[in-house]
């Protein structure tokens, strides 16, 4: 019974976030545009030699997604804070982790869409040939995105309520995401070059472990964080 209640709240919060974001549009579009801009700038920094671009493609794509994603995570709580909607949200009786879970679902969708755009642009700009193992690559991207979204959303719940949210979120988040970035970048790179060393599997396992650890940890700790 209780889990059914909780699941309904998770769904309705995700629905609310997606609907408001879809209607306001400005948010997602500018974040995606920023990601593409960063990607182009990486092209200037690393190109124009085709091989150099190809080698750096995975890193550029993930860093562009990271920098743009940070803005999306802060926005996710900004919407609640600007209109004062966080107060009624906190006054509904029942478990609070559902708020985080709902926002995780919505943010996962946004970041997934943004990654799709960034990858398409990246493949074109950095002259990457899509490997045969593209399903594994897709899985790796999904796992990396989950890691990014989980800690990004959790830390945004804190940073968005401080004076220095723009600088505090990256300061807290980026060091925590080192394993995600290393795994996502190295894993993508390996898969793009045919995974000769059979290392992609190790990176995927690392991401799975990271995601499990931090999805559980954030859901457990969220009640304390949002309450305070």
């Amino acid at each position: 019974m209780a889990w059914r209640e909780d699941w309904r709240r998770v769904r309705v919060i995700a629905w609310k976030d997606i609907t408001t974001e879809r209607r306001s549009k400005a948010g997602f579009n500018s974040v995606a545009a920023l990601a593409v801009t960063i990607l182009v700038l990486f092209g200037f920094a690393l190109g124009p030699e085709a091989q150099a671009l190809r080698d750096a493609a995975a890193g550029a794509v993930w860093l562009a997604a990271l920098f743009a994603g940070v803005l999306a995570f802060n926005r996710s709580f900004q919407v609640e804070l600007e209109s004062g909607a966080i107060e009624p949200l906190l006054l509904y009786p029942g478990s609070r982790w559902t708020i985080l879970a709902g926002k995780l679902l919505a943010n996962a969708l946004f970041v997934g869409l943004m990654l799709a755009i960034v990858v398409i642009v990246g493949v074109t700009l950095f002259q990457v040939t899509i490997p045969k193992a593209w399903p594994s690559l897709l899985g790796l991207f999904a796992l990396g995105a989950v890691g990014l979204v989980v800690l990004g959303t959790f830390y945004a719940a804190m940073s968005s309520r401080t004076r220095a949210r723009e600088v505090l979120l990256p300061l807290l988040l980026f060091p925590m995401l080192v394993p995600v970035l290393l795994a996502a970048i190295s894993g993508s790179k390996a898969l793009l070059t045919g995974d000769l060393m059979h290392e992609a599997g190790a990176w995927i396992r690392l991401l799975v472990a990271y995601d499990i650890v931090f999805v559980s940890a954030t859901l457990l700790a969220f009640e304390h964080v949002i309450e305070a």
């Binding site: 209640e5 309904r8 709240r9 769904r11 309705v12 919060i13 609310k16 609907t19 408001t20 209607r23 306001s24 919407v79 209109s83 004062g84 909607a85 966080i86 107060e87 009624p88 949200l89 906190l90 006054l91 509904y92 009786p93 029942g94």
Partner: protein, 239 residues
């Protein structure tokens, strides 16, 4: 169920500060079921802070408060089941329609999303049910927040300047809601800047000065017997 028989609000020496500034310096206050109490005072006297402590949004730095027997810090979730808090800001989602805002609240409360149109109709917003809240005036937002509040079936209303931005019809709706909750055995605590719109509603008025309760008197009933005498009588009858 000792909770059923106890006071709607029992606050003991509540103190709360922000940084080094004390907004509340020990406020004690009891509200019985069936009572409507007004809380007056100048800007910054701590009225809103007091409501927010009772609503569980803020924790007191000192003192304790119970709502229908549930402690606001230790049993916050039980308190939330009884309390309807109308904040100064409406707290609506601008990019959702009026109806969607209500549906969101209903789903969060685990209520069936049926009959939401009737709720909107009651606050006079049926016409704009499918319009986004972004275009709403402050008064319309307040009415919608009131409709959302009533979805909770609260037994204690905490209303922060409930009449702000409301027109005459809106004031009547607000008073009808307060009367309804009181007649059902609930209670209400109203933060007020001017007492006129609440004329006849209030059983007592307390004044906060600098985070302390300074004065207690009967409602404006005492000053304006013609307007309020029947209401007070009916309130007593309801009890």
């Amino acid at each position: 169920m000792n909770a059923e028989s106890s006071l709607a609000v029992d606050a003991q020496r509540i103190a709360r500060r922000f940084g080094a500034r004390w907004c509340l310096r020990g406020v004690s206050l009891q509200v019985r079921p069936g009572e409507v109490v007004g809380l007056a005072g100048a800007n910054g006297s701590g009225k809103t802070t007091f409501l927010r402590v009772l609503s569980t949004l803020l924790k007191p730095n000192a003192g304790a408060a119970r709502v229908y027997g549930h402690d606001v810090t230790r049993a916050a979730d039980d308190v939330r089941r009884h309390v309807g808090f109308l904040a100064h800001t409406a707290g609506l989602y601008d990019d959702l329609t009026a109806l969607e805002n209500l549906r969101f609240a209903a789903e969060m409360l685990g209520r069936s999303p049926e009959g939401l149109e009737a709720s909107l109709d009651r606050v006079g917003l049926a016409r704009v049910a499918n319009d986004r809240v972004r275009g709403f005036s402050a008064g319309m937002q307040r009415r919608l927040a009131l409709a959302r509040l009533m979805l909770m079936h609260p037994r204690l209303l905490l209303l922060d300047e409930p009449y702000a931005n409301l027109d005459a019809a809106g004031i009547d709706i607000m008073n009808a809601v307060i009367t309804e909750v009181r007649n059902a055995g609930g209670a209400a605590l109203l933060v007020l800047h001017e007492l006129a719109p609440a004329a006849g509603m209030l059983d007592r008025v307390l004044t906060l000065v600098d985070g302390r309760i300074a004065a207690e008197g009967d409602g404006p009933a005492a000053n304006a017997p013609t307007a309020s005498a029947p209401t007070l009588a009916s309130a007593a009858g309801a009890r």
